[in-house]
């Protein structure tokens, strides 16, 4: 249950402002793909177009195609809600629902879509999702406590459990570790390594070591200057991109010489 993503010549706009220009790439199922690049280069914006989350911001729209196993997400008549139930997302800052317990947070995707589920099945889903997010052993005794009482790293894993509980095809992660300490980061990276057995994972990160540790392919985005659109500079196997990049800009960025 994981699908490939193919992007053809995608332009992303905020109102009249062209934020990302001319991106084309193919992401294979059951792989981890990392997006790296300086702040403001459009990698998060591009990530959010993959499940139509950027449309939440008024005025945002795209030109071009995003194909999920051949189905165009931007064809007319596509329901963004249906897209998002296939392409899950984990955000930069952990955002468990404050009114819900740990268990209710995991079941949120199911319950909010008002699917009826027998108690035993729900309990099994909670355990499976929390085990999948490596959180089960830490919270199994306090499933009815509020999710916001967990530590930052635990909250982020709770959000991952919540995202995989609706069994998406693709999991997008927008800098999932940037608000976490190294130990929690390590736990999440381990988790990403396991998640790729079942899901197509796309992760935005500022941490190049993290990109090289967790991903098979890496995309480098850059921006020519403020107010200019971001571009996909290079997209290649992670090992190749970090050791023998073809573009000068990529080499400067990954080796720490900017410009």
């Amino acid at each position: 249950m994981s699908k490939s993503i193919e992007v053809n010549d995608l332009n992303v706009y905020y109102g009249d402002f062209l934020a990302v220009e001319g991106v084309s790439m193919r992401i294979e199922p059951r792989t981890v793909t990392a997006f790296i690049g300086p702040s403001g280069c459009g990698k998060s914006t591009f990530l959010r177009t993959l499940n139509r989350m950027h449309e939440v911001i008024p005025g945002a729209h795209v030109e071009g195609e995003v194909l999920l196993d051949g189905d165009d997400l931007y064809a007319s008549g596509v329901d963004p809600v249906a897209v998002r139930s296939q392409v899950g997302m984990v955000f930069q800052r952990p955002n468990p629902f404050p009114t819900m317990s740990i268990k209710e947070n995991v079941l949120a995707g199911v319950r909010l879509n008002s699917k009826r589920m027998p108690r035993s099945e729900a309990d099994a889903l909670v355990e499976k999702s929390l085990r999948g997010a490596n959180l089960w052993n830490e919270v199994k005794d306090r499933l009815d406590k509020p999710g916001s009482g967990l530590s930052g790293g635990q909250q982020q894993r709770l959000c991952i459990a919540r995202a995989i509980a609706v069994s998406p095809q693709v999991l997008l992660m927008d800098e999932p570790c940037s608000a976490l300490d190294p130990i929690s980061t390590y736990a999440i990276e381990e988790l990403i390594g396991e998640l790729k057995n079942d899901y197509t994972v796309v992760i935005v990160t500022h941490n190049m070591q993290q990109a090289s540790r967790v991903s098979e392919k890496t995309a480098f985005f850059n921006i020519a200057g403020t107010g200019k659109p971001g571009h996909l500079i290079e997209y290649n196997d992670t090992a190749t991109l970090f050791t023998t990049p073809t573009e000068q800009a990529t080499e400067d960025y990954v080796s720490g010489r900017f410009g």
Partner: protein, 367 residues
């Protein structure tokens, strides 16, 4: 074990005076100064009274000029001992505290007056009888209490759905000219004088039922006119502070927008919305002018808000006070004070209930 562990004492420890200390006034000094200033001014006013320049001792002048003297002296002493920044700190602290006490005085005075005058008739009869066939002493305000509760309840039932839905539209859906004009008109509505709301309701109902129409429902409608903008503004502000991250988290799970609003946004902001509604109720429950026009007044019980005149507590206060005359004037005035006390207690009880509800529904952050 090596000899190198014995380090010489650090040179800073040897200095007799710490370079970063400054002078400080002892804690008791401001209070002693305040008492001293009052005594000094008391002596001045005492001398003035003794010399015959003023008629008797003036306690208000003593306190006022004593406090002014205290502020000046404290600033000067603090400036000499503690330096400029702390002196300004003390000056502003005493000014803020004085302003706070001045602001509190009317409230305390008001509560004191109402309690002192209202306790005379705060008895069982007052809450079990109406004013029907009562001449002179006795009688009660049960009809007014029931009227106020029913009319306010009806006004709440009308205003909360309209106000809440409007604010949801403004926060979650509204874009462009329509949302802007709604915001503008809500602002205008906030400023409508309550008598205008009453006249509007009267004109509206008189169109359909003739000029003699008076009932409790009209009162509820006119209170709604006043209440809706308050509900819209308070719930709009509460809905806006719900973090966007929660909405996005819900969308990312494939949850439709309306369900996100219903199941994530509203529960998260429920405590604030309840508080806002309670404040709006407190705002309208004491309205007199529109009710005087559209519900009229009566001396009998009336449980039917759609028929006949209905008494309310504010109007009860008004009529008892204006119609106090003759031998039983004091009884009438006592009833007015007790009704005012009842109204204050009612508002206070509503606020306490609102806080309790807010506490129960507030998002929990326990471990």
């Amino acid at each position: 074990m090596t000899a190198a562990t014995a380090t010489p004492p650090s040179p800073t420890r040897l200095r007799a005076v710490n370079a970063v200390t400054v002078g400080r006034l002892p804690r008791a000094v401001p209070w002693l100064l305040l008492a001293g200033s009052w005594i000094v001014m008391g002596v001045v006013y005492g001398l003035l009274a003794a010399s015959g320049a003023t008629k008797g001792f003036d306690p208000v002048g003593t306190i006022f000029f004593g406090t002014v003297l205290f502020v000046i002296v404290l600033y000067t002493i603090s400036r000499i001992v503690e330096g400029g920044r702390r002196a300004v700190d003390r000056l502003v602290t005493s000014l803020v505290l004085t302003a706070f006490i001045i602001a509190l005085l009317p409230l305390i005075s008001l509560v004191w007056t109402v309690v002192a005058n209202g306790l005379a008739r705060f008895d069982v009869t007052f809450f079990t009888e109406s004013m029907r066939n009562v001449i002179g002493a006795g009688g009660g305000a049960l009809h007014a209490l029931i009227g106020t509760l029913l009319i306010t309840l009806a006004a709440t039932v009308i205003s909360v759905p309209i106000g809440l839905l409007t604010s949801i539209y403004l926060v979650e859906y509204g874009r462009g000219a329509l949302a802007r004009s709604i915001t503008f008109f809500v602002d205008v509505m906030t400023g409508i004088p309550s008598i205008v709301a009453g006249l509007f309701t009267f004109a509206l109902f008189a169109l359909f039922f003739g000029p003699a129409v008076r009932n409790g429902f009209m009162g509820a409608v006119s209170l709604s006119v006043l209440m809706i903008p308050v509900v819209v503004r308070s719930s709009e502000e509460i809905l806006r502070i719900v973090p966007n991250e929660l909405r996005e988290a819900s969308y990312a799970l494939g949850v439709p927008k309306w369900r996100t609003i219903l199941r994530i946004v509203l529960p998260t902001s429920l405590a604030g919305i309840v508080t806002g509604v309670m404040l709006a109720i407190s705002r309208v429950i004491g309205e007199t002018a529109p009710l005087l026009i559209v519900t009229g007044f009566t001396f009998s019980m009336n449980y039917d808000i759609f028929n006949d005149r209905m008494m309310t507590l504010p109007v009860f206060v008004y009529t008892q006070y204006t119609q106090a005359a003759g031998v039983a004037a004091q009884a009438s005035i006592d009833r007015a004070w007790t009704a005012a006390l009842t109204l204050i207690l009612l508002v206070m009880a509503l606020n306490l209930i609102g806080r309790l509800i807010a506490k129960i529904f507030a998002p929990k952050y326990g471990r």
